[in-house]
Each structure stands twice: as C-alpha cells, then as structure tokens.
Symmetry: D2
Subunit: 337 residues, 4 copies
C-alpha cells in the first residue's frame, strides 16, 4: 500500500527503504532536500512541500511522522488543514504518551485518526526489522496492518515461544496493538526504561570484571580511604572484550545488548573514545515517573536513571554537601585524587 | 576424548549426553544409582564407587564435578588419594571463586590440576550448548579443549561480531579461558550478578505496564495514602504476555530472558502459580561483595539483590521500625490494607 | 493578633492552643462540633458555619486552613465569596506545591492573598514548636509574622549555628519565607523526602544490628539458598533498643528520629504491634518526581520510596516475574519458606 | 582512675583532655614528641617509649589505643611482651570488628583483656562528649566504667526517652556494652553506615531544592537530552543555607548532621571550596557487606555507598560501556556538555 513519510533522518529513511523493498509505495518529505532526493533516487515519490505531500497521497491518506519529539506538534498543526476525514497519521517517534492522548483528541473532531507507534530497532532495523508498539483505535490500526507487517521483523526473526498456544495475535510477527491512544508509546517508554536497567546491569558487571585486578594496584592507605583487606582475592587481569564475546553464546545474559557491547569492545577494548557522559532521552525518566504514580517499586530502573544523571556530573552539589558534612564533623579535608 | 563425570543431576547428565552425542566417551558416577543406570543405558560407562570411577579413567585422568557447592570439598578430599599427578579435576558447578583458589593450592602438591568452570545455560543447555567461563593453568585448560568445544554452543549459535578482527580466541565458540584459578567462577559469578539486574529491569518494566490501569482502580483517599493525581493518565489494560512476546522481535531489549518470560506468561498470564518469593543462590551477593571491595559502584545490581531479599520478607524489621517512627512523630496508625 | 482556623484535627487544634498561650486570639471552625466546643472551652471563639466564621474575623482577615489535602480546594471554593480584598488565606497542610500555584492564581483576581505553609513537627509540636516553610507574596507573609513567630520553636530550641554571620533572617527562629507561591510546600515536600531517606537509613542500620546473630541461626542449605559462609562472624545478640538509646548521645547520627525510634523500642523492643506496612502520604513520591524533572540524581531518596512500596506488597507482580524466569531457565521451583 | 593513651591525634588528645578535666590521670605516648609535650603541659604524664609507657602505668594496666586502623596490629604486637595478665587494652579507633575478634584471641593466652570501643563524636567530642559502643568481656568493661562515663556525654546531653521504663543500663549516659569482642566496633560500623544514608538523604534533598530553579535555566533541546516538560513548575531560587538553618528547629529531620550542614552553608553558601569527591573510610562498605551476608535488604545504605564511589569517578568504565552501547544501537554520539 501507499505511505507518506515525513522526516527522513536515519530512522525515517530506513523505514521507507524497508517498505519499498517489500513493494509498498512511499511519498517522502523533509526540510532537508538532499534527504528527499536520496530516497527519490531509490524509488520514492518526492514531495516539495507539505501541500505537495498531502496532494500526492491517495485517500484516505496514511501518513507517518518520524520526527524529533519537539517537532511533532507544530508539524501536526500545519497538517490538519491539509488532511481529510478518515486519514490516519502515525507518530512513529518517541513522543510522550500523554501528548498522544492530547493529539488524538485534537484530531478527532476533524475525523482524522491518530496512531502512536513506538519503534525500536535503532540503526540496525533496516535489516533486522523494527519492533512496533502501537496505540490507537482498532480500525485505523488494522488498516495499516500491511505496513506494520513489513516494518516488523516477522516470525522468522526468533524461535516460536514454546508455551504459546493462542494462534491469533500479531506479536510473534513483531508488532502489537497495545491499546487506545498513547498505549503504544507507553509500552515503548517502559521498553526504554527496561533498556536502561539492562544496560546498567551489563555495564556494572563488566566493570566489576575489569577491576578484578584491584589487588594488583596499590592503593593509598590513610584514615580517609579504606584499604583493600584481601588484595590476594583480586589478582585477575581479565580481557573484558572476550568476556562480552563469550556471553553472547549460550549464557543466560545473552541478548542484543551483549551483542552490541561485544562489538564495541572488539573495536576498542578500553573504550577510549568515550568520556562516559551518558545521555538520557526522556523515556527512562518518564518510566520512573509512571512507576511512582502507579505505586510500583522500581528500584533498579530508578537506580539506572540516577546513574546516568551522575555520569553527567549532575550530582555535584549533593557530593559537595557530603564533603562539607564530613569536613564539619571529622575535620576531614577532601582528597585530591 | 574420555571424561569422568561425578554428579548426574540435570546439569551433569545433560553435559554427559551432549558429550556422547559428539563422540566423547564418559564414565559416570553418582550416589543415586538410578541416575547412573539411566546414563549407562544411553551409552555411558557406569562406575559403582569413586574407586571404580577413578580406575575406569585413562591417565592422565579428566574428571568433571557437577555437584552442589557444599559437596565439592568433601568429594575432592575423597578423590585426592585416588588420583595421580597430571590428572585434571574440573569443578563445573557454582563454587565461590575463593574456594577455587584454595582448592588449586590444595591439589598442587599432588601434581593434580584444578580447573574451575562456570557453566551457564540451565535446563536448555543440552540443545543450546553451555557458555563456559574457565579458570586455571594454561596446559590443562588447553588439554580439555575438545571437551569444552563440544559442550559450548559453537560459532553457529550467534552471528559473528561485526567489529571483531582478531582471528584467534575461543570466545566465539562459547568458551573462554578467563585467567588463573578462580577466574572462571569469578566471571560466572558476575554473569549471575548481571543476570539479577537484567531480570529485575524486565520484571519491573512488565509490572509498570501491568499497572498502567491504575487510573481505573479506585484508591482509598486519606491522609495516609497518596491519591493518584491524574487517574486519566493511567487508563490502559495492556496484555503483558503479548508485550513480552513482541519484545522478542527486533527490540533493543531482545534477549534470552525476554524469551523465557514470554514463555512463562504465555503459559500463565497472571503467574498465579508463583508466590513471588525470589531465591538467590549466592553469586548475586558475591558480586555485590566484589563490587564493594573493588570500589566499583554497582547501584543497579545491588538494588536487584536487595529486591530479592525484600521479596522473601527479609526487610520486615526494617519496615516495622519505619512504621514505628511514623507512629511516633505523626501518630499515624498502620493501615490494614 | 487574630487568626481564624479551619480544621481542628490534632495539628489544627494544637496550633490554636500554641497561639492562644502566647496571647493571640483565635476563631475556630470545623465540621466536627465537638472539636469546636473543646477549643471554645479553652478560650477560642467558636464559629457555627463558614459564614459565621468569616463574620467573626477582623478585616483584613487572616485565615489558616489545616485540612486534609483533598478538602482544601472545595473549602477554598466556598470561602471565596465570603472573603474580601486583602484577606490572607494560609494553607498549612500538605498540599502539592503545584496546587498552591494554581490557587494563588485563582484568588488573585479577588485581591485575596494565598500563603502556603509547610508545617513540620507532628504530635510534638504543641510543646516543641513547628518548623514553618512558607511561600507567597512578601507583604502578606510579613503581615502574619507574629503568628509564625509564635508557632515556630524560636531561637532557644537549638544552639546558634557557629558559622552564621548574617544577623537578619527568621530561619533561626524556626520559620522561613522560602519564595513565591508554592515555595513553602516545595521545601516541605523535599523535607519529607529527606525524612524518608533518614528514616530508611536508621531502620536498615538497626535491622543489620538485630541480625548480627545470623551465625547463631541455622539456615537451610540447598542449591537455591546461599549459605552463610562465615557464621562465626555473626555471633552477636545485640539489644537494639539500647543501641538506639546510646546513639541519642553524642553520636553523629543523633537526631529527633533516633530519639523517636529509641522511644518506640523502649516501649516495644520487638515492635510486635506493627506489621511493617509503611504508608507514604505523597511528599516522598513528589520529591522523587521533582528530582527526575530537575535531572538531580537522588538514588537514596528513590530507594527509600521504593522500599515503602515494597513493604506494602506492591512489588508482587515484579517478584512473580522474577520467580517465573528462574523457573524457566533453571527449573527452580519457588521455596515455601 | 589512671589511663594510658597511645596515639595523640585530634581524637586521642581530646579524650585525654576530657578525662583529665574530670580528674582522671593519663600517661600519654605518641611517636610525635610535640604531641606528647603539648599534653604534658596540660597535666598528662609523658612517656618516651612504649617501655617507659607501660612502666608508668599502675597494674592491672588500662591502655587505650587511638590509632589509624593500619597501625593497631603492629602496636599490639609490640605491646604484648610489655604487658601482664589482667591488663586491659582498649582499641578506640575504627578497626574492623573481625580484627577485634582475632586480637582478643591473640591476647587471651597472655591473660590480657581486649576491649573494642567505637567512638563517635568527631572534632566536637571534647565539649559534647563521645558516644561509646563497647565490645568485650564483662569484667574488664565494667572495670573501665569510670573512664567511659567521663568520656561519654552523660544524661544531661539529651532529654530522657519518655517510654523508657528500665532503670538500669548505661545507654542514657552515652556508652553501651554491646556484647562480646567485636560487638562494639560492629555497632559503630553500622552507625557509620546509617550516617552515610542520613548524609545522602540530606544532601540529595538540599540539591533538589537548589535546582528548583531548573525552569529558569535554558536546556539544550535535542534528541539526546530530555527537555523539561513543565519549566513553569520549577521557578524557585531558594536560599539553601537558610533552609538548612530552619530545618534545625522543630522539624522532623532535625539532627546533628543538619546542624553541621547549616554551619557549612552559612560559611560558604555555594560550598566552593569543595570538589565533591567524597571519601569513605571503610565502615560504610563493611556495613553493606554485613547486610549482604545477613540477608538484610539495605537498599538505602547501599545506594549511599555507591553514590560516594561515583563521586570519586569510580563508575567511569561503567559509564563508558553505557555510552558505547548507546553509540552501537542508536548511533548516538556522546555529547560534550
């Protein structure tokens, strides 16, 4: 079927490619004309403006926005007068699910359907397919089924789940209608929260292995620094990159994230090109907010979020207060190293 | 080659089966004679005593212990007088790596080699292969290479790591000589710590999704319980088992653990058969101890361990102290529900 | 000066008593007529309705609401038509600071001033005085200075801060104008978040001391439960109530909370009357939400909040998922005990 | 009575002064002769060597070691041949309680009694008194009662605990015999763990208040950084030093630590002289180890310890791994700021 794509960054462009490979027709638009031309060469229909874009789409139209979260709302506002009843707009980016709820309500009086679609898969999705978590009304979500099916990895991507007895449902193909408006981005948001926790667990573990040589390094011994009581218990110089590689095979922690970290460590065993300032792009913090609201204890995901904040130096005042207290009660001066 | 296996529980028996399938010969021993006979029927050589067992092994002998951690030391003590110089004993169970260090020193004067081998793969390893993390001297570890190669999943189990340029190394086959005595169980220990953190992240995330219906359930409103400020933001009744299924395909959190949880939820969407008392078998707590000793911050793995303790009611006195303080300063009585 | 108090629960009634003791005149109102009569006997002027209440107040009126958070808004809505320009309404309860912002805006067109006042001190405040954290415009806050001064503990309550050089400011008297509308409840909210963390630290510590006898108790040893490696290191049966008592004197952790826990443990060393279900009344969770929004790492306060949730069984589904995963990969059945 | 003090650093010297003020006689020794002379001027008996020191003590001798943890054992080894049966050696420093157990066993065959005494109070103890947590045999601990009573703050230091009915016990005077050898330092160790948690709660809270101006500061908006959704909710520029001051009076978080932080902030509102590298001197990490061993969940104290590690940059490799994973799956480059 035909889809119009607005936003031709890495994700948007790859979605278009994956769709065209499977026989779908795409109309593409982006403020960056080079991005448009690039996909035109690959077979897409180029649009020169939002007007041109909506004109070139068959009705009822199917549109997909793959835009930075901050650009979605103004784009929608521009689109509304150009659309007609029964058109469907998919927001495939990382919008906050509460914005989805508001946008669905904004479009409803115009008869336009709004579908939120959390899209996981990153730069590898073109080949691997994207995991799709979808929210919105039944009919428009069903209508776009052929597109979702193409974008998702399909059943061949993983072994069937042995205990699964139900024959219906699209989850084994890699896409899922999770519920009404916002439900898709809600599930994607939590997916990213889980990702934060899994990443942290892997990273902490590799760091503990890397520092298994603690007994070989001398440590300053003074009243302010606890010495290592049993240095003989930490004599190991372990090749962390090989550990990540071996964990890819048959272990309980086997996962795509371990695959990725093995790749990164194979390229750069000390990860010298990184400073360790870990960004967070919203979903992790929203997950923590949801957990607090729902009264669900989420100590691990919360700790992973705090760890990212600390990696960026955001705990500085807290730490100064701690040092100041130590200075007050113990006369402890801070140590240079 | 030939291997002698002591301990024919699920793990030990499946190791023997996997070895025999690949043409290795196994001598087997267990206090449970039925377990011995079962494997004899499948082609193994049965031993009726430790004496008989060591007699039936070609020299230099290769032995593998697959025993509960508490039984390893007494078994070793019995074995020493029955073994000869240059024999190799592998401890494939979950021993604490510090015990490995001591045992290697205990065996050294007898010329017996001790190899510690962390074995991950659980009940699925027979088909899938086991990830092996190995510690000990170079020569005996190399000598047992053919056995490790059979037990491990092999390179076919996962795509090659794109960034990997080194041609040597056994990690891509699923086994790794990590370092001297204890290094294998050290890496396996941390592997399990990582497992705790990953499991917790997945479980918390699914729980947050399950409770996305918080706005539909009424909550008692009184001075002691915070009401949900925006119930309209939590209107979703999401099928958690389908979410786990879809996350298996193309998502960033795709992993064997997500495969397993999808299976468990497919069988029992409410997990009614579980009470939620989560055991811990040592490696997680040892990982936290190592992190503390090494001065490596591990907030996520530490939180995952505490969560398991709390699941078993071990925070009870702490919680009573909290309630007592609230009673003291606020006159707050505890609530029944 | 004169103050009208609405809400004569424990806190409201004690505020009235403390004010009258210091010569202020109070008009009191509550739906509970007994509460009104009780204070009338003690010298307050009773009001029989909101109408009667506002009639009996001198203009410009000074009103104080000491109500459950959920009752503040409807009470304000009823009061507005009964009030006049330049009247001041203080919300002394535990409102969310964002509600303060909205209420101040709601009252502004009527010329009515809104002051939010976080009030800490609990059931002991009558004698000890209350710590007041105040938000609102300069003039009305200054106008109510004599009331705040009476309610607060005063400078005699604690030694002067040695390093303090500024002579101005009311903080040493125990009340502080923190900033514009909402700032008072914001600071009080965070105060309670700090309280959660301090309480948790004390409770965890006492629990670790109580369980210093772990080596004396036998533990089941099996593959699912880690045995205590060095039971001889945990041979202590320590009287936790005496520890709390001694910590009250000269220690670094000396605090009102330690005073309270010492009292609770003196009354009931095992705290048998508590079940350990620890309520949370909103401020702790709001503090975590603020930290997340502000990008401030708050791992300790977040952990304290999660701990309270877990104490109430809210981690149940998470724990079931963990047990289910263990069952899947290890064939581990849950343990009964 | 007479006491011999070895180690005349700040703590040791002040203990001697406090004892002499109350009429006790002290023999003092330190490798630093200036420290010895200083106290000689104040009335102590100077010793020029360990020999001279033990000669000048009446038998049975009472000795107190106030030394860095690493110096205790060699000093004890030197002392043993100079001591006699029934002498008592107090270790008043911060030894690990397991070392106490070993030392008590080392001294026992010589008939020398070993008493471990955790001493809290810091630089303020001379005036305020020290909280003493004591381990060892009944008789020698009782014998030193007059010394402990002088060193401790005494009952005047805090109000009596209302619920306390037992008339016996020394805890209200500020010293406590906690149990056999090691019990004193065990309780002191946990005391410091509690201190870590309380300090962290206070520091996090003040940091959240300091950043209540987050809505006034602009933040980079891009795909890698979550924007603040509701900047209007964070408009406050709150004077954190005044908040600390007001919390000293009548609030639930009132504590010596809040007194200290108020002092530090009064001297330096931005704490510019601190870098925020927070040391840890052993007790906090030992507390976490004990909690893990005892199976007591201690998420808050554990988080506080991890926070200190992170403040010193010890999470660097972990953070690099996180950034590397983000780079792999999302093509996210790290951000400079």
């Amino acid at each position: 079927m035909q889809l119009g794509m607005i936003g031709l960054g890495r994700m948007g462009a790859n979605l278009v490619r994956r769709l065209m490979r499977d026989g779908h027709r795409c109309v593409v638009y982006d403020l960056d004309r080079d991005a448009v031309q690039e996909l035109e060469k690959e077979g897409a229909t180029a649009a020169s403006s939002l007007h041109d874009f909506t004109d070139k789409l068959e009705r009822p139209r199917s549109l997909w926005l793959m835009l930075p979260a901050g650009v979605v709302q103004p784009t929608l506002d521009q689109l509304i007068p150009l659309l007609d009843g029964d058109d469907v707009v998919v927001d495939g980016g990382n919008s906050y699910y509460r914005d989805d709820m508001a946008r669905a309500q904004q479009l409803a009086p115009h008869g336009i359907h709004y579908v939120d679609c959390g899209t996981s898969g990153g730069v590898w999705g073109l080949e691997r397919g994207y995991c799709l978590m979808i929210g919105g009304e039944e009919e428009p979500v069903a209508r776009l089924g052929p597109l979702f099916r193409t974008i998702a990895p399909g059943t061949g991507n993983a072994e069937p789940t042995p205990g699964r007895t139900r024959a219906d449902g699209t989850a084994p193909e890699g896409y899922l209608h999770c519920g009404p408006s916002g439900a898709g981005h809600f599930v994607k948001m939590v997916h990213n929260g889980v990702e934060y926790g899994m990443m942290a667990a892997i990273a902490e573990g590799l760091s503990i292995i890397k520092h298994a040589d603690a007994g070989l390094r001398s440590r300053t011994v003074d009243a302010e620094t606890a010495p290592l009581r049993e240095p003989e218990a930490y004599p190991y110089e372990i090749d962390v990159s090989e550990v990540a590689e071996v964990w890819r095979r048959g272990s309980v922690v086997g996962s795509w994230l371990v695959d990725l970290v093995a790749d990164a460590l194979a390229r750069s065993p000390e990860l010298d090109t990184y400073t360790g300032r870990v960004s967070d792009s919203g979903e992790g913090r929203w997950t923590v907010l949801a957990a607090v609201d729902e009264s669900v204890p989420a100590p691990v995901i919360s700790a992973a979020l705090a760890q990212r904040y600390e990696s960026r130096g955001l705990g500085e005042f807290t730490d100064k207060v701690l040092s100041a207290m130590r200075g007050e009660f113990g006369g402890h001066a801070e140590k240079a190293g």
